[in-house]
């Protein structure tokens, strides 16, 4: 994907939507970066609760960004069909936007009611040490 490719594409008549595609790709890559953050957090963080922060948030935004990016990338023209497709993809984004916090909350709640999962700061520190050793 060098500059030459870009020029070829720009010359081949897809010019009208080229900026939109570029924006979509930017969004997609950004989503990938945030997913990287979430994945690293998922490995590095000491206990379940902190991992939940990483996964819950990183997952939501990266998914939203990537889907938005692909929504833009797949816009072929501004016909009704394209718009409907874009709206459908945004619908996916919306549902993930609703569902993801719910999942975070639900898992947090289940874990917090489990006696074996330490909650408070002092316990958390202890468990973080344990977690490090285990990993």
């Amino acid at each position: 994907m060098s500059m030459i490719d870009f020029q070829v594409i720009a010359a081949s008549g897809e010019v009208s939507l080229f900026p939109l595609h570029l924006l979509g790709m930017f969004f997609g890559s950004l989503g990938l970066v945030f997913f990287l953050g979430a994945a690293v957090g998922l490995i590095r963080f000491p206990d379940f609760y902190t991992r939940m922060h990483a996964a819950g948030k990183g997952d939501t935004l990266s998914t939203m960004l990537m889907l938005t990016g692909f929504g833009l990338v797949t816009m072929e023209d501004f016909s009704l069909g394209s718009w409907l497709l874009f709206v459908k993809i945004m619908g996916v984004v919306l549902f993930i936007f609703i569902a993801s916090p719910t999942v975070s909350h639900v898992l947090m709640r289940a874990a917090s009611e489990d006696d074996e999962m330490p909650l408070t700061e002092a316990d958390g520190k202890k468990s973080s040490n344990k977690g490090k050793k285990r990993n």
Binding site: F34, G37, G41, F45, P46, L61, L84, M108
Partner: protein
């Protein structure tokens, strides 16, 4: 009145999903929307006391609320990214549980508040018991941020403006 609103919303949904505008498919859509409205109209708009104008107003102010929450989501991710990638961020971490009481009354407003808290940086709603929220936070300064009640005010502006006037 509410069933009609639900029907219209569902039909909008159908049109977006279907993308076909011939009579046959639209007719199928009407039938399906009628069935779904019959099956589960009581799920949407749980609180039926509010009038139509009020609902429209809510929808409008909710739209204005969305950009803010999306910006918060971005900030939350940057925060997670910092914690995950840098050493300082990792050491800054001090998870704890914070409890506070909300003045929001309706279930839906509480739901929006809880999910907003979950989406904002470093906090996840853990438990709601009545009016009391138990929130898990990642570090000290986020906790302060939460207790000032900025999110709560934002949500109250959308769903319960009268509760703001009282305080």
């Amino acid at each position: 009145m509410y069933p009609v609103a639900v029907f219209l919303l569902l039909f909008l949904n159908w049109v977006v999903l279907s993308g076909k505008f011939d009579a046959f498919h639209l007719g199928l859509g009407v039938v399906s929307c009628l069935i779904v409205t019959y099956l589960s109209h009581d799920l949407l708009y749980h609180d039926r006391k509010k009038g139509l104008e009020r609902r429209l107003l809510e929808a409008w102010s909710f739209l204005r609320y969305l950009p803010w929450i999306i910006w918060e989501v971005v900030k939350a991710n940057l925060h997670v990214f910092k914690l995950a990638m840098t050493k300082e961020g990792y050491e800054e971490m001090s998870p704890r549980v914070v409890t506070f009481e909300t003045y929001l009354k309706t279930d839906f407003a509480k739901f929006v508040l809880a999910n907003s808290i979950t989406l904002t940086p470093g906090t996840i709603t853990m438990l709601i018991r009545g009016d009391v929220f138990h929130v898990h936070t990642m570090s000290q300064f986020l906790e302060d941020d939460l207790l000032t009640g900025a999110i709560e005010r934002k949500v109250a502006e959308v769903f319960e403006p009268e509760s703001l006037k009282k305080t």
